[in-house]
């Protein structure tokens, strides 16, 4: 059942109060140069279509309810990837007055891609690792 997801992944880009750097890198990853369509990865506009939520940014009080709601709206099974240092560990925003903890305290995170911002190559490597993890789950 999980094997179906290793050949086709629809990605939804959820920006949760990022500085936009990770988002630019995400767009770079989806652009023709890296051509992730050859692995079956496609950007979709609606969380109902998505298999993967790419979450970037340090989640703050304004956006935390929205990202929870977004996760609930996504058709299951879906996977959450924390893109960038902020989503993984909040780095320098750790003790800020308005952030709500790293992403894994809010949603079940399947994959961490650290970096400030992570390179497109790092993201592709991360998604490939996620696919391998899914394949391993099947056995």
């Amino acid at each position: 059942m999980v094997n179906a997801f290793t050949q086709s992944l629809f990605v939804f880009h959820a920006a949760c109060s990022p500085c936009n750097n990770c988002d630019i890198e995400i767009l770079d990853m989806l652009a023709p140069r890296h051509d992730v369509e050859r692995f079956g990865i496609q950007l979709v506009g609606s969380p109902r279509h998505a298999d993967v939520l790419l979450v970037s940014g340090a989640v703050n009080k304004k956006v935390v309810h929205r990202i929870k709601r977004l996760y609930e709206q996504t058709a299951k099974p879906c996977f959450v990837i924390a893109v960038g240092g902020c989503a993984c560990s909040e780095i320098l925003f750790r003790d800020s007055y308005n952030t709500c903890g790293p992403l894994d305290t809010i949603l079940p995170v399947d994959m961490y891609i650290p970096g400030c911002p992570p390179k497109p190559e790092a993201m592709i490597a991360g998604i490939v690792k996620l696919m391998e993890k899914l394949k391993g789950k099947k056995k």
């Binding site: 997801f5 050949q7 023709p32 051509d35 050859r38 079956g40 496609q42 979709v44 109902r48």
Partner: protein, 308 residues
């Protein structure tokens, strides 16, 4: 005897030339579409079975039914759309093989059958209680209003040339005499109807009702899992059925491979137009069809009446 008849009909609609054949052909055409787009953008593009992988995965996903919407219409719309496009496609291919008349006036039945998917898209989107879907539905309605008239006029041109209103007889006439495209009015009508089916298939520059980037999927924003897969199948099959319809009406005749080649040519032009063009605004699409396309269709009709 009765039993065998029922069995052959079932096989005709489920296997060949019905659901299975059309679905496989649709998956192939949609792969060709994506691969061609990739090659034109200097990319590698998806593997041959990519569309099948997508459909297979969607059937394993959760199906979410929106709470505030109309559940019955939400579920029925994609199923009815799929059934009608398969019925139309299967019958078109059977006419191609048998070259006879099904019943007088079947041309209109096909026209109605081929507009059911768009109507179902509107119905399903309106039943999903989502503002984006509602916007998509209203745009789809305006698109239908804009392209149906020129398409109808250009099909009347072909019917006028053959002096019959039945698809089977139109094909027969073209086999015995010249095809409709072999005249000035025929060429005009083919050009007009190719623009119209581009909008009917929901391909760029007329993909305003789906508009992934501004309406987040538009008509299909609330669809997930198996029902989204059904919608994708409808769109893929439409990419075969509409070109085949045009070929049969305007340029029938020749061997089977020639018909396939003509279909492939129309699909290729549609795909290249899709890749090369950005999305138009809905008001631009409306004025384009009403002010630019419809006059050409009427001119074709007038030329056909005086016999050019």
């Amino acid at each position: 005897m009765e039993k065998i008849n029922i069995l052959t009909t079932l096989v005709q609609y489920l296997v060949f030339p019905g659901f299975l054949f059309l679905a496989v052909a649709g998956l192939f055409v949609s792969w060709a579409d994506r691969k061609l787009a990739a090659r034109m953008q200097w990319r590698v593009g998806p593997p041959l079975l990519q569309s099948w992988y997508d459909i297979r995965k969607l059937f394993k996903k959760e199906l979410i039914i929106p709470e505030g919407g109309n559940t019955l219409a939400f579920i029925c719309a994609p199923v009815i759309a799929l059934l009608s496009i398969i019925y139309a496609g299967a019958n078109l291919i059977m006419i191609l093989f048998m070259q006879g008349q099904i019943f007088p006036g079947d041309l209109f039945v096909f026209l109605y059958l081929l507009s059911i998917p768009s109507v179902c898209m509107m119905l399903g989107a309106s039943a999903s209680a989502n503002p984006y879907a509602a916007l998509g539905a209203s745009r789809e309605m305006k698109l239908i209003l804009s392209y149906e008239l020129p398409l109808l006029i250009s099909i009347i041109v072909a019917a006028l040339k053959a002096h019959v209103m039945s698809l089977g007889l139109i094909i027969q006439f073209q086999m015995e005499h010249l095809p409709a495209i072999a005249s000035l009015s025929g060429v005009l009508a083919v050009a007009v109807s190719m623009v119209c089916i581009q909008a009917k298939m929901g391909m760029a520059p007329f993909d305003v009702s789906e508009a992934e980037t501004e309406l987040a999927g538009g008509l299909f924003v609330e669809y997930s899992g198996p029902l989204l897969a059904v919608w994708k199948l409808v769109k893929m099959i439409a990419m075969i059925v509409f070109p085949l319809f045009l070929v049969l009406i305007f340029w029938a005749g020749g061997s089977l491979s020639l018909v396939v080649l003509k279909c492939a040519g129309i699909i290729l032009i549609a795909i290249i137009a899709r890749i090369l063009s950005p999305r138009v605004r809905i008001d631009h699409a409306l004025t384009f069809f009403w002010r630019k396309v419809t006059p050409w269709a009427i001119l074709a009709l007038l030329l056909a009446i005086i016999g050019i």
